[in-house]
């Protein structure tokens, strides 16, 4: 009799675990739906802002379960037809991806964001828009940007340069803009 009871306890534990997994799945679905909607809304705004027009949205690929659904990007830069994202130019692709990253950032800012030469494919006009967007977001997060672009360098508070005076040994030099300005004045 005791053995049967023990078996029932274990069975109950299994059922509880299944229930827990079900709850986790439900919570995951709810959170994903909520986050997806918010990111999608931001993505549309950021995209329009970066491209000064156009439309873009995130679309869920068809799946029986929301947890297995993929996320597709539909983008229409201003003056262009709605087209496959892979047919966009390098700069457009970069701006679209940056839009998505910043859309997520607007919903859930991370302690810091490291951008490694993401502005490389952007032209001067787009670099200015990109910089404006970063300046706007930098109140909530710390941005670490690796760049060769002088305009992007101008928006930083601190500038670190990496040089190699001696072969094989890199050296960093730093400039704090405010301090430098006060020294010049």
């Amino acid at each position: 009799m005791k053995i049967v009871i023990n078996d029932e306890d274990l069975q109950k534990a299994v059922d509880d675990l299944k229930e827990t997994i079900k709850d986790i799945n439900n919570e995951s679905r709810r959170r994903f739906r909520e986050m997806f909607d918010r990111v999608n809304e931001n993505f549309m705004n950021v995209f329009s802002s970066l491209f000064e027009g156009g439309e873009a949205k995130l679309v869920l690929t068809e799946s029986e379960d929301l947890l297995n659904a993929g996320v597709d990007i539909v983008a229409q830069p201003p003056g262009k037809k709605l087209q496959n994202i892979n047919l966009l130019s390098g700069g457009e692709k970069a701006l679209t991806a940056i839009s998505l990253i910043f859309a997520i950032f607007l919903v859930k800012p991370s302690p810091f964001c490291l951008l490694d030469e993401v502005d490389a494919p952007l032209d001067d006009v787009n670099v200015v828009r990109f910089n404006n967007l970063i300046t706007g977001l930098s109140y909530d997060s710390q941005f670490i940007i690796i760049t060769h672009n002088k305009k992007t360098m101008e928006i930083g508070d601190l500038l670190y340069g990496v040089t190699m005076e001696e072969p094989g040994i890199s050296k960093t030099v730093s400039v704090e803009f405010k301090e430098a300005e006060s020294l010049i004045a």
């Binding site: 675990l17 991370s110 302690p111």
Partner: protein, 979 residues
């Protein structure tokens, strides 16, 4: 949590648990460790730290108390990697858990590298989803879910295992319970046996003690007897020794006599032997001679027989050779006959083989045809079934095709409607676009006008500002003039004392529209200061010196031409008043020379008279400027034309103009606003229309795709239906061809069966013929065999005869040789016989002498022997007596020894029993015996009972005595498992 230290991309990725060397731009993780340079040693490890401030404590519970969290990774050249959080070594899993749902980490959105942008765009939708998952905090849930699933699997496995274990334990419990019962019974019996064994052992011990005592007494008796016997034995031994000595002396004497006798007999024997040897030799030689003579005779006889036999053998050999020739000739004939028969048989066999082959072919063909017919029957049945199935499929596909066709036509109608709607929208959109374009153009025109007005307004405003500036601050004049006039305005008393009236510019009026042209001509004199009296110049000079003013030009109203040249002070060049008139005049001349030119260009409009002045004087007069040298005329200028007032008026005019412009601008702006609103409205409408158009386009596109899909489906269905029809037709054709083939096969089978019957008849006939031939052939073969056997026998006989002949020849030669040898040996034997007879005669002479010596020696020896025998008898009697004593002694010793052994055995038995008792109980045997009624106890009965108990214990076989403890442990384990 906020990052404080900016780090390069690789560093932060490394610290947050990056394990891919490729993302660090290295072939291996050791490549990130400093490898040294010309002046620096290589490093053994690389370390990177990422410090986060944690003022709110909004991180994992275990790190919530830290205000700063430093995540460190240290990588050694050996490949070992250490992760630390606040200098405490942790696992990679802990670091990942820390960064989970923060966006930092390998899959997070916080670290965007060069290739990541392209990766985000070109990634699969399911991979792109990870970014959203990370932001939504699902990663933690996924982690939890994976853990839960893992636990679920483990629990299920545990459940199964527990069931198995419990089942096994239950079975084990049942088995153990039986063991426990057996063990308890066994232990009970063992206890009884132990008690009985102890008592039995004690009784045995007691019995052994009594026996030991008895044997001890016996041993003492035997030891006494042995001592007595030993003393008697010693006396007898002394007598025996004496007798032995005497006997030894006699024995020596007898031995010597015997030796002499033996030598004599030996000599006699040698002589006899020699004689016998010689006799034997003689006899041998005689016998040998007789044998040789006999052999000689036999050899002679044998030689005659051999010669006869040789002649017979030769005759026989010749007969056999003749017979062999005959038989070989006959054999050739028989073989020829047999070859003929074989040839005939071969032909028949070949014919039979051909017939059999043909029969086999026919049979195979028949089997094939039958198989084919059966196969075709089956095929026909299959085809019929398949045909039926295809017809069913065709019917269902046709129904489906009809449905799809209906769907396609519906879809096409929908598409047409949508296209019409789209065209309508496109028309509306085009209208809207043209309307927006018009509005836009109009807006641009209005905006341009507004821009012009604003420009005019701003020009006028700047003019007002400029005039006001001039009015108040003498803007546009040199610094000396500006400061001087500012000082005059600030100090009206000084101004009055010095008699300063103002600047010449204040006294000149020029129409606004001609100002730009006239002012360059007049500029040279406009900043001259007008004073009332020339005598005030020295004071003015002092004032200018005090205030460090630069060069100034003065016009005195009372004395314009006669100012002394010396009137100047050091450092500041005073104006040369002598030149006062001349520049003015020069300016006047210039003015007059340019007047004609300016007049032609209608610059000098007289606003008061509303006409153009005829001469420069008239214009100057009307404008208040007098170029005469008289003070009166200058005073007229002063009183008649105040530029200040005019500028005031001018400002007012410009302000009025600005107001008008503002009104116009406002009107334009309101109009523009209306236009913009209209434009915006039109744009919004356009966007709405465009959106609708896009939606329609989307719908159209998806409709088109769906239509294409359905059309494709329809075509596919049609193809399937046509394919099914084709298949059905093919099956029909195949069925017809199969039937045709089946008929052909049936006909072929009939003809083949007929052919087979004919062939079988032929084959039977041939086989009968072959059998006859074979029987004939067999007879010939038998005959041939008999002949061959006979031939072989004859050949062998001939061979034997030849061999015998050669053997006889050889024997004949050997016999002749032996005959010669025997003759020689006979002669030698005669010689030896004579020598032996001589030697026998010599031996007979010495033999009789030796016989006499022997007789005397024998008599002496017999006497000694008699004496020796008497001594021997005495010794024997004494020895017998001694032996008897020795026997008694040995018996006594033996008995004593046996008793001693028994005593030792009893002692050992007692010791063993004591040891056994010590092993099974702590009590001494005396103590146990004291509790027992020794007299009443039956030792044998007790032994029987003990044996019976031991047998019962042995009959129980192997018993697990640890079963009760195991049962208790098992019960506890089951209880634990249940808990």
């Amino acid at each position: 949590m906020a990052a404080e230290n900016p780090l390069p991309r690789g560093s932060s990725a490394r610290a947050s648990g990056e394990t891919s060397a490729k993302s660090m731009r290295g072939s291996g993780m050791e490549d990130v460790i400093f490898s040294g340079s010309s002046f620096h040693k290589p490093s053994g490890m690389a370390e990177v730290s990422l410090t986060f401030s944690n003022p709110k404590g909004d991180t994992l519970q275990k790190f919530a108390d830290y205000t700063e969290i430093a995540v460190t990774r240290r990588l050694y050249r050996s490949g070992e990697s250490i992760y630390m959080i606040n200098k405490i070594p942790v696992r990679l899993k802990d670091v990942r858990e820390l960064f989970m749902d923060t966006g930092i980490g390998g899959t997070g959105y916080s670290i965007v590298e060069q290739g990541r942008v392209e990766e985000i765009v070109s990634a699969k939708p399911i991979d792109r989803r990870i970014l959203i998952d990370d932001a939504a905090g699902i990663v933690k849930f996924r982690f939890k879910r994976e853990n839960a699933e893992k636990r679920l699997d483990e629990t299920t496995q545990n459940l199964l295992r527990v069931n198995d274990v419990l089942g096994a334990l239950s079975e084990q419990e049942d088995g153990l319970r039986e063991h426990v019962k057996r063990a308890e019974k066994y232990l009970d019996l063992q206890e009884q046996s132990g008690l009985l064994e102890r008592q039995h052992l004690c009784l045995s011990w007691h019995q052994a003690g009594l026996n030991e005592q008895k044997v001890q007494e016996l041993v003492q008796v035997h030891q006494q007897q042995q001592q007595d016997l030993q003393s008697e034995k010693s006396v007898d031994e002394t007598d025996l020794e004496r007798l032995k000595l005497e006997q030894t002396q006699l024995g020596t004497q007898v031995g010597e006599r015997r030796e002499q006798l033996f030598k004599t007999e030996q000599n006699i024997q040698e002589a006899e032997n020699q004689r016998e040897l010689e006799k034997q030799n003689l006899q041998n030689v005689s016998e040998q001679r007789q044998g040789q003579e006999k052999e000689l005779e036999e050899l002679k006889q044998s030689l005659t027989e051999r010669e006869k036999e040789r002649a017979d053998t030769n005759n026989r050999s010749m007969e056999l050779a003749e017979r062999l020739g005959e038989m070989q000739a006959k054999l050739v004939i028989i073989e020829e006959k047999r070859a003929e028969e074989n040839e005939t048989l071969q032909k028949s066999a070949e014919e039979t083989s051909v017939l059999q082959k043909r029969l086999l072919t026919v049979h195979t063909g028949l089997t094939n045809q039958t198989n084919q017919k059966n196969f075709l029957d089956e095929r026909l049945e299959n085809l019929t079934e398949r045909q039926q199935r295809l017809q069913d499929q065709q019917l269902s596909h046709k129904n489906l095709l009809q449905e799809v066709t209906l769907q396609v036509s519906d879809r096409e109608e929908q598409m047409v409607t949508m296209r019409l709607q789209k065209e309508k929208f496109s028309g509306k959109l085009a209208e809207l676009e043209s309307s927006i374009e018009d509005q836009h153009l109009k807006l641009i025109g209005e905006e341009k006008k507004l821009e012009d007005l604003r420009y005019q307004q701003s020009t006028a405003e700047s003019r007002i500002e400029s005039l006001q500036q001039i009015q108040t601050h003498y803007e546009g004049f040199s610094d000396s003039v500006k400061i001087f006039m500012q000082l005059m305005q600030d100090n009206p008393v000084t101004k009055k004392q010095l008699g300063v009236s103002g600047l010449l510019a204040d006294f000149i009026t020029v129409p606004a529209d001609t100002l730009d042209i006239v002012s360059p001509v007049m500029a040279e004199v406009l900043d001259w200061v007008v004073i009332e009296r020339a005598e005030m110049l020295p004071q003015i000079e002092i004032f200018c010196t005090e205030h460090e003013l630069g060069q100034l030009g003065f016009v005195a109203l009372d004395r314009p031409a006669s100012v002394p040249k010396s009137a100047g002070t050091k450092g500041i060049p005073l104006p040369e008043f002598l030149k006062f008139k001349e520049p003015l005049q020069e300016w006047g001349e210039k003015f007059f020379s340019r007047f004609a030119l300016l007049k032609d260009e209608n610059y000098f409009w007289n606003e008061a008279d509303k006409k153009w002045p005829d001469s420069p004087e008239e214009w100057l007069s009307s404008s208040g400027i007098c170029l005469s040298n008289s003070s009166a005329s200058m005073g007229k200028v002063q009183s008649g034309s105040l530029g200040f007032l005019q500028r005031q008026q001018q400002i007012i005019d410009v302000e009025t103009y600005v107001d008008d412009l503002q009104k116009k601008i406002n009107e334009f702006e309101s109009e523009l606003l209306t236009l913009r609103e209209r434009h915006e409205f039109l744009k919004e409408e356009q966007e709405t229309r465009e959106e609708e158009s896009r939606k329609l386009e989307f719908a159209l596109l998806s409709g088109n795709k769906e239509l294409e899909h359905q059309q494709l489906e329809e075509r596919r269905m049609q193809q399937t239906v046509s394919q099914l029809s084709k298949d059905s037709e093919g099956i029909f054709e195949e069925m017809d061809s199969s039937r045709l083939k089946e008929n052909t096969a049936a006909e072929t089978i009939i003809s083949l069966e007929k052919e087979r019957a004919e062939l079988e008849d032929k084959t039977n006939q041939l086989q009968e013929r072959i059998q006859l031939q074979q029987s004939r052939n067999d007879a010939i073969a038998e005959e041939l065999l008999a002949h061959r056997v006979s031939l072989t026998e004859t050949t062998e006989q001939q061979k034997n005869t030849e061999e015998k002949e050669s053997r006889l020849n050889k024997e004949y030669e050997e016999t002749s040789l032996r005959l010669e040898q025997l003759k020689t040996a006979l002669n030698e034997g005669e010689l030896r016989l004579e020598q032996s007879r001589n030697r026998i005669a010599e031996i007979d002479g010495s033999f009789e002498e030796m016989l006499e010596n022997r007789t005397s020696m024998k008599q002496e020896l017999e006497e000694d022997i008699q004496l020796h025998e008497q001594k021997n008898e005495e010794q024997t009697l004494l020895s017998q007596k001694l032996q008897e004593r020795q026997g008694h002694l040995e018996n006594s010793v033996s008995v004593s020894h046996q008793e001693s052994i028994r005593l030792t055995e009893f002692r050992l038995q007692r010791e063993q029993l004591e040891d056994q008792l010590r092993k099974i109980t702590e009590h001494t045997p005396e103590a146990i015996l004291s509790e027992m009624d020794v007299e009443a106890s039956d030792h044998k009965k007790m032994g029987r009972e003990l044996r019976s108990l031991n047998e019962s214990l042995n009959a129980m076989g192997a018993v697990n005595l640890a079963a009760p403890e195991e049962y208790v442990a098992l019960t506890e384990r089951i209880e634990d498992s249940n808990q």
